[in-house]
Symmetry: none
Subunit: 155 residues, 2 copies
């Protein structure tokens, strides 16, 4: 399996539940994390979600600061205060919390976007907008900035 890839849009039911895409569940199962790790993105209206691989990435960030230092404490509050650990029920569904609702603007549909080591949870329309923007940025990043490497890119 190649991490979280592709994107899917699923309906929210009357109880606030939504199916996590089966292929994402398969990745999570292999990762071994209990439930799902979620954290609000600091720079867009989405929630990052994943398992141990995502958590490790987050922890790596706070390790840059010495524990007990004011900086570390502030970062820890910001990171873990914005986190949740929702359960996944027997049918592969999670419930969308108020925190996720508020941060994303989700009402009745949810878009899951694979990003390899994590995936994001979006309100579908907001995702479409972000995606268009991201594609432009990606194009610019890939064509312009090539700091180290020697040769150009394949046709």
């Amino acid at each position: 399996m190649a991490g979280f890839v592709s994107h899917f849009t699923n309906r929210l039911d009357a109880k606030g539940r939504v199916s996590i895409p089966a292929s994402f569940r398969a990745v999570l199962a292999r990762d071994g994390f209990e439930g799902l790790y979620c954290i609000s993105s600091s720079h867009c209206q989405a929630v990052d979600a994943g398992g141990n691989e995502l958590l490790a990435e987050i922890e790596k960030r706070s390790e840059a600061f010495a524990k007990l230092s004011p900086d570390h404490d502030a970062l820890a509050v910001a990171l873990f205060g914005a986190s949740e650990n929702p359960k996944i029920d027997g049918d592969g569904r999670m419930t969308i919390s108020d925190m996720i609702r508020d941060h994303t603007g989700i009402t009745d549909q949810v878009t899951f976007v694979g990003m390899k080591y994590k995936f994001q949870i979006w309100e579908p329309e907001k995702f479409r907008e972000y995606r268009a923007e991201a594609q432009k940025r990606a194009l610019a990043m890939l064509s312009g900035a090539s700091p180290a490497s020697s040769q150009g890119e394949p046709a």
Copy 2:
């Protein structure tokens, strides 16, 4: 086997399945990737497909940016959000997803085009047009480098 070479056009069946050319399957088997890795091309109406070798190429591009940064997120959405990991069934067929259909315009036939380390998935007519254009460009590029004499016809 020397990578993906030559091109083939196969029919799509009523269930949306299409046979992957046997020679391509042989390359994939040797590559060892589970299923097939597909990503929409950002500059033409085709889908890039392959195994670990292609995936490595894609991953290399996002490694230049720190994870969790806005840049990395944008790139990951553009790359992995536009990717898929279709299965290959016991008879060597894959199903053409809606994403591939939308991006390529495929309806009832699929052209597979070998490109050494990857192959592309095209709607046959669109491929013919692209190919004609590509040959012109290739000719122009080659004429600058060496005393180009005769051009053979590819089979």
